[in-house]
Structure formats: C-alpha cells, structure tokens
C-alpha cells in the first residue's frame, strides 16, 4: 500500500496529474473520516480535506519517497489544519453527529428508552428505539473524544477510528512505540471515564 503511494507520488512529481488524482481517490475517505472525528465537525470536514490535498499538491516537489509515507504526511498536515480550524471556530457549538441524534436530543433523554438497550437481545437491534439508542450512544462517544486533550485524541482516533498500527502511529507522532502505546491506553481510559455515567445506565 505504502509502496503504491510512493510510486504514485513519484509519477506525480514527474508531471502526471492523474497519479495525484489516484492518490486522492485512495485516501479521501479515511482523511474525511479522520477530520470529522478529530474536529467533531462533519460540515467542514470536506473543506479541510480539500485544503489538505491542495497543500500536498503544492508541496509535492518536497516529498521524498521512502523518507516519510504519504499517509504520515497527510495526517500531519490534516492535524495541523484541524487544530487551526478548532482554534478559529470553536468546536463545541458546531458539534453535530447527524439529524436523528439531534432530534433525539431535542426531545431530551429518557431513562426508560435507554434501558431498552440493556434488556434488548441482539436480534432487536433493528427496532427503531434501539436504533435511536445507538445513535445517541455514538453521539455521546463523539462528544467524549472531542473533549479529550489533543495529545490523546489524536493517537486514539488514528488507532481506534482509523485502524492504524502502533508502528504507523509512532511514525506520525514521532514517538517511541512504548510511548505511543501508553498514550493510547491513557486515552482509552479517559474515554471510558467520560462514558461511565452513560454506560452505567445501560
């Protein structure tokens, strides 16, 4: 995978613009997902992803194949853009997961509804109430990760949302693998504690 990215980058450096288009095709989904989760702001995720790719496009001549992976570079640029975005706009009021969750929040939480999950066997997963519960839970999780300090949020999302290996994350963060591991564990513990009041009612 990484070798293909390297090859495409080299082709692009030689002037083949289609190579860059292919790189975008390969990475647009994970990038947008990362940005949406990192900022908690889906509405602006595409703009930020566009800007990430534009910056990579413009700085392509400075890319040294083999020295840094395309993916590493991409997340590095995206993270900095996200940080600026959060600083400039303020994350909280923009946070929104999706319409269903918002509607549900407008109605207020209902303990009886929440209990449906606790008592529901797996095959009731398709019932509308349970579907709403899942959305509510996801909304809570997204809020919780958005509240984590950046040094924990960043590796946590790379690991548990983007599915990167510890090795890849260590490279992106420029940390030793032991530090990366303990930071991710710490981030997960923080998430657990934030979700505790919610999960305990389930």
């Amino acid at each position: 995978m990484a070798e293909l990215d390297d090859k495409l980058m080299q082709q692009f450096q030689k002037g083949d613009e289609n190579a860059f288009t292919l790189l975008v095709r390969r990475h647009q989904q994970p990038l947008i997902n990362f940005i949406a989760k990192f900022t908690g702001d889906r509405d602006n995720a595409e703009d930020l992803a566009q800007e990430t790719f534009i910056r990579m496009y413009k700085a392509a001549d400075r890319y040294k194949p083999g020295r840094a992976q395309f993916k590493t570079w991409m997340y590095f640029i995206a993270k900095n853009l996200c940080k600026n975005h959060i600083r400039n706009t303020g994350r909280r009021e923009k946070f929104r997961v999706d319409n269903v969750a918002s509607k549900y929040n407008d109605n207020g939480e209902n303990e009886e509804d929440i209990d449906i999950i606790a008592i529901a066997p797996a095959d009731t997963a398709l019932q509308p109430e349970v579907a709403i519960e899942r959305k509510e839970l996801r909304h809570t999780i997204q809020s919780a990760i958005a509240e984590l300090p950046e040094q924990y949020r960043y590796p946590l999302i790379l690991r548990d949302v983007q599915g990167l290996s510890y090795e890849e994350i260590s490279k992106i963060l420029e940390l030793r693998s032991g530090t990366t591991k303990s930071r991710i564990n710490r981030a997960r513990l923080m998430l657990k504690n934030k979700l505790k009041p919610y999960m305990e009612t389930i």
Partner: protein, 197 residues
C-alpha cells in the same frame, strides 16, 4: 499487580498482547477484584463502541470540487511549462484570426496545412510543437481525460489567464461544473511560485 497497574495493562489485555506471565497475573487479579472487573468491562465496551463508529464518507462531488481548486494551483514539478503556456496562449488569441494565422504559419513548417479542418490541424500542430519542446510538458498538455478537460475549461472560464491548446478545443465540449464547496481561506492564484506549506 495493583488496580492502577491493572489499568495500565488494559489495552494490552484487550489487544491480547500481554506475555504469558503478565497475562496470568492480570487474570488472577481480575478474577477476585470486582472494581477491576467493572472498570475493564467499561473499558472494553467503550473501545468497542469507538471502533464501531460509522465512517464518514466523502460527498459524490468531493473529487471534482478538489480538481476545480487544483486547477488554480501549480505543483512545483510542472509549473514552469504551465507558466509558459499561460503566457503565450491566451483565450483572446485563441478567438482571433491572428491566432489562427500564427498557428497556420507554425503549422506550415511542421505539417501540411489543411484548410478543410482548421481546428484539427491547429491542435496537431501545437501538440507537435509541444512535443518538440519537451516531453514532460507534452504529457501534461495532451492529457485528454474528462476531469482534465473540465479543469482546462475552468481555467479558461474563470481565470482568463490563458489555456493550453487542448484546453481550447475542450472549451467547446467540456461540461460546465457545479461548485458546491468554496474554500474561503484558500484562494491560491499565484501562478509563479511553486507554493508551499
């Protein structure tokens, strides 16, 4: 292993990367310590839920919007040739008879002139000229994919800076594009520098 040390190993236990010795100690503690049982259950459930968050996917026009943005950019690798064509071939020229004359004259040197199909001759002539100038620039100019043609069209319509010759022929046939996302902060239009971070 006390309860704090237990927490430090939650991820390793969750990902099944504890060595055999640590695993035994961990599970021994977990068996009698109700607090750790409860905390680990919460931990496992939280991480599992996080891992199952639905993925955000790009909107269908993400790529075409990006290509619109990029059409106003110049990667350092090819900026010189872009610049060259931007300076020498402008839409005004393209529409004027003088432009046709210039190309016709150029064409006579390289190609037999064919009055029946002026456009083709011109395109061919310029392509040949391009090729004779540099292979690298040719690969950029002669690209004929749909996206490329859209980009060239946009260059003509929006910037009026100029166009490549294949861009000119596409101006007629290229589909107009819709623009949904506009980057406010980014309005790169510097044609000279290669840009940077």
């Amino acid at each position: 292993m006390n309860c704090l040390q237990m927490e430090e190993n939650f991820s390793s236990y969750f990902e099944d990367t504890l060595d055999f010795n640590s695993l035994q100690i961990f599970e021994e503690h977990l068996e009698y310590c109700e607090a750790c049982q409860k905390e680990y259950k919460l931990f496992r459930e939280s991480v599992s839920e996080l891992q199952q968050l639905p993925q955000d996917v790009p909107s269908p026009d993400f790529l075409s919007t990006l290509q619109q943005q990029l059409s106003q950019e110049q990667p350092a690798a090819i900026s010189f040739w872009r610049r060259l064509y931007t300076q020498f071939v402008t839409p005004k020229w393209a529409l004027s008879g003088g432009f046709v004359m210039v190309l016709a004259i150029t064409g006579m040197f390289l190609y037999p002139f064919n009055f029946g199909n002026v456009n083709n001759t011109i395109t061919d002539t310029l392509s040949k000229t391009t090729q004779s100038v540099d292979d690298k620039s040719n690969s950029v100019i002669v690209e004929e994919s749909g996206t490329q043609s859209n980009r060239q069209t946009l260059r003509n319509n929006q910037t009026h800076l100029g166009t490549t010759f294949s861009g000119f022929s596409h101006t007629v046939s290229g589909k107009p594009m819709q623009r949904r996302y506009v980057l406010k902060q980014v309005s790169y239009s510097t044609p000279v520098t290669g840009g940077g971070l």
